[in-house]
């Protein structure tokens, strides 16, 4: 046996009692399931309880008349020796054993039969016997029968008789006088169930009359009053089923003081000996009265209120219910001035009114005219305008309303401009609602001309075409009112203009855009030559043809995308900020650096991520652990909303905890002023800004989290970074200001461009970043060397966002990269090379140039190594082109950040490449130098 481990035994905690050890081969006993716990009789049959109160019996075999064998007939068997005996079935043959037992229907127990019963009571039989004796051959032969009296009384009877008791008497010592029965006081009211009406009072009185002095009487045979307290919840005097009654049919209640005459006086020992014939039946208040039972007395002893007096007064000869049949003197006693018209009973407390109500006069309903049709129609509502004011007036007059002065009554119908007119103001230009009001006078005139031509033509066309141009409000062709015609155009071409205002595919060329809008309007009006009309006559034929195609395509594209798609989609019920997705706030960091840490067996901080995790409340409960976040409702890892289109979601950047907004705003890059501000916000712009902040804050938080104890260095970092960013952005803005300004005004929303150029832009934006980067490189290619071109590149970027350049994300990434570069170069010295970046080797040139500076950096920023390393890993994930790009950005930045002399591109590249030289071994070496605790 093993040595008992005392210590480990102590550790174990045992609950409850163990299972009993089973003997070998023994099967564990099954407990009897509930459905098997049944009541059976001695023959194993189920006992059934039919009628829960009556103690019913189960009949036959499983409640059928059959048997286990079914209706098997008794097989006939007969032979010479064994003759088939004639079988006569009695009722007993069909009875169960229970029926023959003592309490069954046909008990077979020995009972005293009538032959041996006492003859004293059986007069009829006695008479018959006397008759028989008289007619018998031997007279008096029945004498013997009389002499022999069978003992049918019980021993108790015998004993009582020996003591002098006689039937019908009570038990107890004889009394001198009958105890006077307490009379029921008539003044006493009886509440609750009334006692059974008894007629025994009279007999009592008669008994009391005759009272000889020297005679003692046996006590009356009464049941003593039961003083047992009522301890059940039944009603007063409720009696449940008396089994005695039910079984033996004795209907007389033992406790019946008053009922029944003297001949029916109930006796304690009663008529047990008297064979009254068994009357099987169930009586009792609980069951009502059976169909064969006549007695109907007081089953539902109801109380009526009329049994009680309600007022204290002398007894009236009646109950007041006489009415007009009341005796005369009774009537006269009553109110003499009683109105004889009223023949009902007057309720107590009420009296007949002395004054009769004046009868209401009833007017017959008016007679309907013969041709009346019960249909209502509503009067037409006419809006109050100048044209139909007289109509309104007529209508209101016909409606019976007072006529209002149209100038005063329609105050609420006036809009702001009309009110202004009334006040004599000049219409505000800025409040124009129609695009057409922006048109120059010349254009308006042109439009008007076209409008007139249109109307002339339209007059020749079918009226159906023009149905939408309300003919009543149609302006006269000769009308010179420009505003009116423009209003009309806006009305008739409403959808087209609204469309056009939303959708400006030719926004760069305002003239063209206007022509396009005209084209749309004309199209809307169903003019076939709409295109030709709106084209610029000064254009060449080739230009016209091209424009025609463009217009047609743009219109088709827009209409189809709008109408065919809109019928398939519905609006979102709740406002979803579509450029946000929920992502876990904390994600496990990049695996690469962990892998290297694992390789070096540097487990611990490098390989561990710690997150806030919210267990479910119920889980905490089940684990008997207090909820660590009792106030939070979220479960699992906390989630945050992120830009859906943010590159950060696709790059494996370190997802550090998103900073609180205050922190983010404090480190916010000052936004460019001037034109940037006046610009209409597009969602790309906002996301760009957000991302800027996002990236910065992320880096900052990363720096903080990674630096850990060396916290004091990070404010410096932040400050420097901010400074650099500020200067950068300011410069960027200043340079870009003038050229941007002109573009801002007519910049359409990006969605429309997406609608038109959807196919190409989707492709591009979803394609790999390399492509974008490359294209950007190409764009910026010539501008790499000098400041001016770099500014232009910035312009290209910004204008790209405005004019719907296919890669709207690109500026964002480039700016991000810029920031990366800034941070790294300024604070952390040269970057470490990407370990697995093959392209880095190709650009190797002049690595020694930056070497001393690198060394210095290394010394100074030793503590930032981990950060650097981390970031480098991150960037390695981005493609090679990023590095190229970064080099350029760095260039720009270095020039801007007042490094005064124009460092050429090879310089910065060499800087980058010098760090890229670093081998993994070097990296590991540095990592090892980190002050990490190892076991």
């Amino acid at each position: 046996m093993a040595a008992p481990d005392s210590d480990s035994d102590e550790d174990l905690v045992s609950y409850g009692t163990g299972l009993e050890l089973l003997e070998e081969g023994e099967r564990p006993k099954k407990p009897i399931p509930l459905q098997d716990q049944t009541v059976r009789d001695e023959k194993g049959r189920y006992k059934r309880f039919h009628g829960a109160f009556s103690g019913g019996f189960s009949a036959g075999y499983f409640n059928t008349v059959g048997s286990k064998e079914g209706w098997a007939p008794s097989s006939f068997m007969s032979s010479r020796q064994n003759r088939a005996d004639k079988s006569v079935f009695g009722p007993e043959d069909f009875m169960d054993e229970e029926d023959l037992s003592e309490f069954g229907i046909a008990p077979k127990a020995i009972v005293t039969t009538d032959d041996f019963a006492s003859k004293t009571r059986d007069r009829i039989r006695e008479k018959a016997r006397q008759l028989a004796a008289a007619t018998a051959p031997i007279p008096g032969a029945t004498l013997l029968d009389d002499l022999i009296t069978p003992a049918k009384l019980s021993v108790g009877f015998e004993l009582l008789r020996k003591m002098g008791w006689k039937e019908g008497q009570g038990i107890g010592p004889r009394v001198k006088r009958k105890p006077r029965r307490q009379k029921l006081d008539p003044g006493i009211k009886i509440y609750g169930c009334a006692l059974p009406p008894g007629g025994s009072e009279g007999s009592e009185d008669e008994d009391d009359d005759y009272l000889p002095e020297n005679v003692t009487f046996a006590p009356k045979d009464v049941m003593p009053v039961d003083f047992t307290p009522k301890d059940n919840v039944h009603g007063l005097a409720y009696k449940g089923l008396d089994p005695h009654q039910a079984l033996f049919g004795i209907s007389e209640e033992p406790f019946n003081l008053f009922s029944g005459g003297p001949e029916r006086t109930s006796s304690l020992l009663g008529d047990i000996g008297v064979n009254k014939g068994r009357k099987l039946g169930i009586t009792g208040q609980a069951f009502g009265v059976g169909a064969l039972e006549e007695e109907d007395d007081d089953i539902y002893a109801t109380e009526t209120l009329s049994k009680y007096d309600t007022v204290l007064k002398d007894e009236e000869p009646g109950d007041g219910l006489y009415g007009w049949t009341a005796p005369r003197q009774y009537q006269s006693q009553k109110d003499s001035e009683k109105d004889l018209r009223y023949i009902g009973k007057i309720l107590d407390g009420f009296s007949l009114a002395s004054k009769s109500l004046s009868s209401k006069k009833i007017y017959p309903p008016p007679e309907l005219p013969r041709d009346y049709r019960p249909v209502h129609y509503f009067r037409p509502v006419v809006a109050a305008t100048s044209e139909n004011s007289h109509l309104l007036q007529v209508l209101s007059e016909s409606a019976g309303k007072p006529v209002h002065d149209p100038g005063t009554h329609s105050r609420h119908l006036l809009n702001a401009s009309k009110r202004g007119e009334l006040l004599g103001e000049t219409p505000i230009q800025g409040s124009a609602t129609s695009v057409l009001e922006f048109l120059s006078q010349k254009d308006k005139e042109r439009i008007k001309e076209m409008k007139q031509a249109t109307d002339l033509k339209a007059a020749q066309l079918k009226a159906r075409r023009l149905a939408q141009n309300a003919s009543s409000s149609r302006p006269q062709p000769s009308s010179p009112d420009v505003g009116h015609s423009s209003w009309h155009m806006a009305l008739s071409g409403g959808t087209a203009t609204t469309r056009a205002s939303n959708f400006k595919p030719f926004a760069q060329d305002p003239e063209k855009q206007k022509r396009y809008e005209e084209y749309l309007i004309n199209m809307k009006q169903g003019q076939k030559d709409a295109l030709e009309r709106c084209l610029d006559p000064s254009m060449t034929e080739w230009e016209r043809g091209r424009e025609r195609d463009e217009f047609a395509q743009a219109a088709r594209l827009y209409v189809s995308s709008h109408s065919t798609l809109s019928c398939r989609f519905t609006h979102a019920k709740e406002e979803d900020d579509s450029h946000q997705v929920e992502v876990p706030r904390d994600q496990e960091n990049d695996v690469n650096d962990k892998q290297s840490a694992v390789k070096m067996k540097m487990f611990g901080k490098l390989t561990r991520d710690t997150f806030e995790w919210h267990p479910d409340k119920l889980l905490c409960k089940r684990f008997n652990v207090p909820d660590p976040y009792p106030d939070s409702t979220l479960v699992g890892l906390p989630r945050v909303k992120r830009d859906k289109y943010s590159v950060f979601n696709f790059l494996t950047l370190p997802e550090t905890a998103s900073l609180p907004t205050t922190q983010a705003s404090s480190e916010k890059v000052p936004q460019p002023q001037g034109p940037e501000k006046s610009r209409k916000p597009s969602r790309w712009d906002t996301s760009k800004q957000e991302k800027k902040e996002d990236s910065i804050s992320e880096f900052l938080s990363l720096a903080r989290s990674k630096v850990g104890p060396k916290q004091e260095s990070s404010p410096l970092v932040n400050k420097e970074g901010d400074h650099v960013k500020e200067s950068l952005s300011n410069k960027l803005v200043n340079k870009g200001e003038d050229s941007q300004a002109e573009e801002e005004g007519s910049r359409p929303p990006i969605d429309l461009f997406k609608a038109i150029f959807a196919s190409s832009s989707e492709e591009k934006s979803s394609s790999s970043e390399d492509e974008q980067g490359d294209s950007e490189d190409e764009q910026e290619g010539p501008g790499e060397a000098d400041v001016k071109s770099s500014q232009e590149a910035n312009l290209v970027e910004t204008s790209a966002a405005h004019t719907g350049e296919p890669a709207p994300q690109e500026p964002v990434t480039s700016i991000l990269v810029q920031k990366l570069q800034i941070d790294e170069r300024e604070e952390f010295g040269p970057r470490l090379p990407p370990v697995f970046c093959p392209n880095a080797r190709q650009k190797l040139e002049a690595p020694q140039k930056e070497a001393p500076q690198k060394e210095k950096h290394k010394k100074n920023k030793e503590k930032h190594k981990t950060k650097k390393e981390h970031r480098r890993r991150k960037e390695k994930k981005k493609k090679h082109r990023k590095h190229k790009h970064k080099g350029k950005q760095k260039n720009k930045k270095s020039e801007k950040s007042s490094s005064s002399e124009s460092t050429d591109s090879s310089d910065s590249q060499s800087d980058e490449e010098g760090t890229a030289d670093m081998s993994p071994q070097e990296l590991l070496r540095r990592l090892k130098r980190l002050p990490l605790r190892r076991q």
């Binding site: 046996m1 093993a2 040595a3 481990d5 480990s8 035994d9 550790d11 174990l12 045992s14 609950y15 409850g16 163990g18 299972l19 089973l22 070998e24 564990p28 496990e588 695996v591 962990k594 892998q595 840490a597 694992v598 067996k601 540097m602 487990f603 611990g604 901080k605 390989t607 561990r608 991520d609 710690t610 997150f611 806030e612 995790w613 919210h614 267990p615 479910d616 119920l618 889980l619 905490c620 089940r622 684990f623 008997n624 652990v625 207090p626 909820d627 660590p628 976040y629 479960v635 699992g636 890892l637 605790r933 190892r934 076991q935």
Partner: protein, 315 residues
């Protein structure tokens, strides 16, 4: 009669084959001790779960009701219930005595690799190939889990539960420890797909075995590496590992048919116990005594220390 305190004997390793149980239930996917080590459960690939007395070698009961092979099982602290999970994506709660299925929890999208009761057998935690751990409530009749821990990026191969922690190893190479009391999740990167994790009995360390044929002992609080144990072979299969009854040795299955014992502190190989020709698929260590169960193929072996002798001689 003052005897001197008996000198604490050095820990003995179970190396005497005491019994071999032919389970007759296909391949034995897992073998597990019950809470006090008197009985064991074997999970068969023929959809059955069997309860044995390993020392006597008697089969006590067969639990059938799974729709596919049973991959893991656990017993409750009071021996009244069992839970098991299998290839049918279901987690089943059994009544020990009657052998009936008490509850069947469905919801996993893949095979259930591992199941575990919590300390009071009120929650079953099941790790599945669908990269989630689901916490099933045994108390209520809720059909859905109390909580779904879906932080793993790949299948969950091992789940262990302490009184307030859930330790989970995943094929994505991370060991995650959910601390309910602190409300934090600690994720330790190991790199190689993790086959088995377990707490040390003192609750201070976690033992992690991964498919790079390495066992690592990590500090629970900091995640630092305390020891590394190599020499066995574990490159393909989900093999079990554990600590001996007094945390003196690290025990692991191996694909070369042996069970390896390392000294926990020194990290030196203490014993390579040859079990048989195949792969030792699963093992279980007695909670208090030097008794080891190994599963190879369709049979289960029971090992005791050399000095052990059967109590009554009947074996």
């Amino acid at each position: 009669m003052a005897f001197p305190e008996p000198k604490p004997r050095g820990p003995e390793l179970p190396q005497k084959r005491l019994k071999t149980l032919d389970c007759r239930q296909g391949a034995v996917r897992a073998v597990r001790f019950n809470v006090d080590g008197n009985y064991c459960l074997t999970c068969g690939s023929d959809k059955t779960l069997k309860l044995w007395n390993p020392l006597r070698g008697t089969l006590l009961r067969t639990y059938s009701g799974h729709g596919y092979e049973v991959l893991d099982a656990a017993g409750s602290f009071d021996n009244s219930n069992l839970c098991s999970g299998g290839g049918d994506k279901a987690v089943v709660l059994w009544d020990v005595a009657s052998g009936q299925v008490v509850r069947k929890f469905r919801g996993h999208a893949g095979k259930v690799n591992t199941v575990q009761f919590n300390e009071e057998a009120t929650v079953i935690l099941s790790g599945s190939i669908d990269s989630t751990i689901r916490c099933w409530d045994c108390r209520s009749r809720r059909p859905e889990p109390v909580q779904k821990l879906d932080e793993a990026r790949d299948g969950v191969s091992s789940v262990k539960v302490s009184d307030h922690e859930v330790l989970a190893g995943s094929v994505d190479g991370r060991v995650r420890r959910y601390d309910l009391r602190m409300g934090q999740l600690f994720s330790d990167y190991v790199g190689s797909p993790i086959t088995c994790t377990c707490f040390s009995r003192d609750g201070q360390c976690t033992l992690v075995s991964s498919l790079d044929s390495t066992l690592r002992l990590l500090d629970k609080d900091t995640g630092e590496l305390l020891g590394e144990y190599t020499g066995h072979k574990n490159q393909k299969y989900k093999l079990d590992c554990c600590l001996s009854e007094r945390d003196t040795h690290v025990v692991s299955c191996s694909e070369d048919g042996k069970v390896f014992f390392w000294d926990l502190v020194e990290g030196a190989l203490a014993l390579a116990l040859p079990v048989g020709p195949g792969v030792v698929q699963s093992l279980a260590y007695h909670p208090t005594e030097p008794c080891l169960l190994t599963a190879m193929g369709g049979s289960v072996q029971c090992w005791r220390e050399e000095a052990y002798e059967a109590e009554s001689g009947t074996g």
